[in-house]
Amino acid sequence: MFPTTLVLLLFILPQGPFAEACPTSCNCFRIYKVFCSDEKMVDVPKEIKPKFTEIVFVETSIRTLKTGSFRNNTGLTKIIFLNNNIVSLEPGTFIGLSDLTELEITGNPLLSTLNAGIFDDLTHLNKLIIAHNAIQNLSKELFNNTEDLEVLKLQGNKIDNISNGTFDQLKHLNTLSLGLNQITMLPEGLFSNLNNLKILYLNENRISSLPPGVFNNLTELTDLALEGNLIEHLPPGIFSHLTHLQKLRLQDNSIMDLPTSVFSSLLNLAFLNLDNNKLDTLPNDLFHSTPNLFKLSLKWNRLKTLPEGIFSGLFKVKTIVLSHNQITSLPKRTFMELMTLTKLHLENNSLARMDRELFENLTNLEFINLSDNQLQMLPEGIFDSNYKLVLVPLYNNPWNCDCQLTYIMQWLHEITDLTQNSQMRCESPTHLKGKPILLLGTEKLECSLPENAADISFSLRRVQVTNRFLNSPNLSNTSSISCTYSSLDGATFLSCNIPTCRSVKVRFLAQDESETQGLKYSSANDLILNSDCAVTSVNITINLT
């Protein structure tokens, strides 16, 4: 063993202090990492010792990466540029860096072009991030030599079109991000060699239509982001090969309709977002082959109703968001079999009535948002089988505060869901308009119940316009009612005080036609007046013509 030790010593000794020497104005860590963040630095330092394998530049003033910048550091495995001011990369910048596995050049608003061949020396590159610059074009040969790439992130540039074949050499790619660019169309064969791709981000571009077969070879794909584009129609078979897809983001497009079987191959789909599109109807069978759907979001569309049974088959769904649509009513069995559902958003629709059975059997439901609808009442017992329900926002509905609201009011008090609904107010009847419902006692929730009504029946036996006073009229149930009458030129005034909280029925009995000239009145028209719980004043004016 002796000779070996000797050899090692010979190598270590001369290198000793120099190996750790760090470039001026940079910091070095653990003998292999260089970190440069000096804003006065204008060039990649030349004196980086070969022993360093990783180098990071943050907010320096480097404007140009010159040919052979890293010529003396062929052992580098990682180079990172964050928010420098790079304007251009000279041809051959990365010459000799065949060991480099990771390169990032991010946050240079003036970097607009990448020369063809710039990455050709990087034959072992595994991860390449060229993000948030101003790159406009990707030359078709740019990635020809970087066959080992697994991660390619190009988001936040100004790429407007990509030619067919650009990614053809990247057979090992598993992540491709092209989000936040200006892409208008995708060539049909662009991804055809990316058999191992798992994640594809195309969000926030200007794509208006997708070629029918563009995703056909992406059989391993799990995440597909298409949100924030200009898509109006989806080709029927666009996702038909994506059997491993778990997340699909289609929100913020202009999708007007969905082909019946567009999701029918997505057996593993768990998250589907279709928010902020222009959907006004959904096909009956849309979700019949997506049994693993976990969260479905359809807010900010134009849905008016939903087909009966559209969600049947969603055995695992936990959240459905249907808020900000124009839904006026939902079929009784809409949510029938969704035993796993915990959150349901129906706020900001035009729901005017709900079926008593709508939420039946949803035993795991914890939250239903019904705020900002047109509800005047909810049927008694509507939440009776929702044992776990704790939050039901109900504000901003035109609630009719009568006895039919007693159930929901008691239910709210029971689950102490008071904070959410402190703004829940009556729209009618008139005397309760604007009152916070939760501050009313249930005894204020009155209905017009004829059997509880105080009847005032009276007959005007003699009306003489010239008389200042009428004769006392006949009153039934007069025991606790006091009325006064007065008559002034051409008009008779009737005024009663009635101590009741229910309703008052006033019935005119014009007994003697001959003596009540000019009083046109049909006794079929009883006057029903609902009252607050206090002494009520009833004032009636009878005009004699």
Binding site: N27, K33, F35, I80, G107, K343, V390, T419
Partner: protein
């Protein structure tokens, strides 16, 4: 119960956003890349700045969120989170990275709660105050037995025992009715603190922070000041309340109740009622950062112990994030309570460093450079006064509600204008619900220290 329900409601609103985040331990380089990534994804609401460098030369990067990054807007409060002060307590660091990514994504997706938070608050996030210690701890990894490896900075100094001790002074002043805020520092303080501490203190004084939390690990509890016991050489712990004790308890409870399990009390083999504790009541700690915030600046800071395991396994990070996410947001929202306003001179110019006193609470705050001040208060009726050198001070009785902060402005005349009439104080409620306020003659003000100041 009502408090609990409110958190639940918020929880549901937040859940609308599905953040696509990766849960892994970020070393220094990963941390820097993650912060710059957020800054590039959300350039209009973020800014990155460095408050200085660690002993080994790593930057102490802060990510700022604001609708006007880099600018203090009058009446918009400044908030901060500090993580990873103990290098081996890494959950706070990871949570603050997740929080940064979440705020950016939620803002981009138009989440109402996050949008209004960022529009009304300037949020500063320092994910790692001890990046050198972190690298030492990370080398050991999650299952290391070395309980203390990487806790201290590279000079083996515990940064949470490295701030100037101001408690001794304040406990003395309490007895003799001395100053009750902004304790003076010893002349040689700079030579006695570590690089990380020095950078942090300079940071704390260059922004008028109102509320803060310092994220640690090793227990699960929200810990509020004072950390240092009043009982000298106490063998056992004793409760050491600040003049703002009820407020601090509410702040701590806000976090613990919005947290997935902290409020339950039983965690890591310890029990804390409501998941909160007074620092000194748990164990006495001298020269900590939390007490220093309260005694040297206007900032109210609590210390959050977030995980039993100081260096949780990567697989636990996602669960920890969802357990803490709403708490982290709810706690920032706490900066919007009590009163705030402008202290102006007769020409409507802001008066910096004016002293705002609240009767019954022996801890004053001061106005910032633009003359705006923030005084966190629980709902109630208070007599508040503002004073500044060579100006007549002014008092006003205010009723603080539970929601938005009440805006109470002061206009302080120079003392030469001996017009002893009652000054009208413009009072505006941001809530738009009118509150009745009476202007109290300044003779009712009680703080003797302030009287002496007015005399100057």
């Amino acid at each position: 119960m009502a408090e609990r329900m409110r958190f639940l409601v918020n929880f549901f609103f937040l859940f609308e956003v599905t953040a696509s985040v990766n849960f892994y331990h970020h070393n220094y380089e990963d941390l820097v890349r993650a912060l710059y990534n957020v800054q590039n994804e959300c350039p209009y609401i973020t800014r990155i700045y460095s408050i200085g460098q660690s002993t080994q030369g790593r930057h102490l990067y802060v990510l700022e969120f604001s609708d006007n990054p880099g600018i203090h807007e009058p009446l918009e409060p400044e908030f901060k989170y500090v993580g990873n002060m103990h290098g081996n307590e890494v959950l706070g660091r990871e949570l603050l990275i997740q929080l940064s990514e979440f705020l950016c994504e939620a803002y981009r997706l138009g989440n109402d709660r996050i949008t209004s938070l960022i529009h009304s608050t300037r949020i500063h996030i320092l994910p790692s105050m001890n990046p050198d210690g972190y690298e030492v701890a990370a080398e050991q990894g999650p299952d290391a037995n070395g309980f203390l490896t990487g806790r201290n900075n590279i000079n083996e100094i515990d940064l949470n025992r490295n701030f100037p001790d101001l408690n001794t002074q304040i406990y003395y002043y309490e007895k003799i009715n001395g100053p009750n805020h902004h304790m003076p520092l010893p002349d040689n303080w700079k030579s006695q603190v570590e690089a990380e501490t020095l950078a942090t203190i300079r940071w704390m004084t260059s922004y008028n922070f109102v509320l803060s939390a310092n994220l640690h690990g090793g227990a699960v509890v929200a810990n509020y000041p004072y950390d240092k016991s009043r009982v000298r050489s106490a063998r056992y712990a004793s409760y050491s309340a600040t003049p703002d004790d009820t407020l601090f308890r509410k702040l701590a409870r806000t976090y613990s109740y919005a947290h997935g399990w902290m409020h339950q009390g039983w965690n890591c083999g310890d029990y804390f009622e409501d998941g909160i504790t007074n620092g000194a009541h748990w164990y006495s700690l001298s020269k900590g950062m939390q007490d220093f915030n309260y005694l040297y600046t206007n900032c109210f800071e609590i210390t959050l112990e977030l995980s039993c395991n100081k260096f949780p396994r990567q697989g636990d990070l996602e669960r920890e994030w969802y357990g803490n996410r709403d708490a982290l947001i709810s706690y920032i929202e706490e900066v919007h309570q009590g009163i705030k306003g402008m202290v102006l001179d007769e020409n409507n110019n802001g008066i910096p460093n004016a002293v705002i006193s609240v009767s019954g609470i022996n801890h004053d705050v001061t106005s910032g450079e633009m003359g705006d001040y923030f005084r966190l208060l629980l709902p109630g009726t208070y007599t508040v006064s503002a004073s500044a050198p060579e100006r007549k001070s002014q008092s006003v009785k205010v009723t603080v509600g539970p929601a938005e902060p009440l805006q109470v402005n002061f206009q302080l005349q120079t003392d030469k204008a001996l017009n002893v009439q009652e000054e009208k104080t413009p009072v505006k409620n941001l809530n738009s619900k009118a509150h009745l306020k009476k202007i109290i003659p300044r003779a009712l003000r009680k703080n003797p220290r302030d009287k002496s100041r007015i005399g100057n």
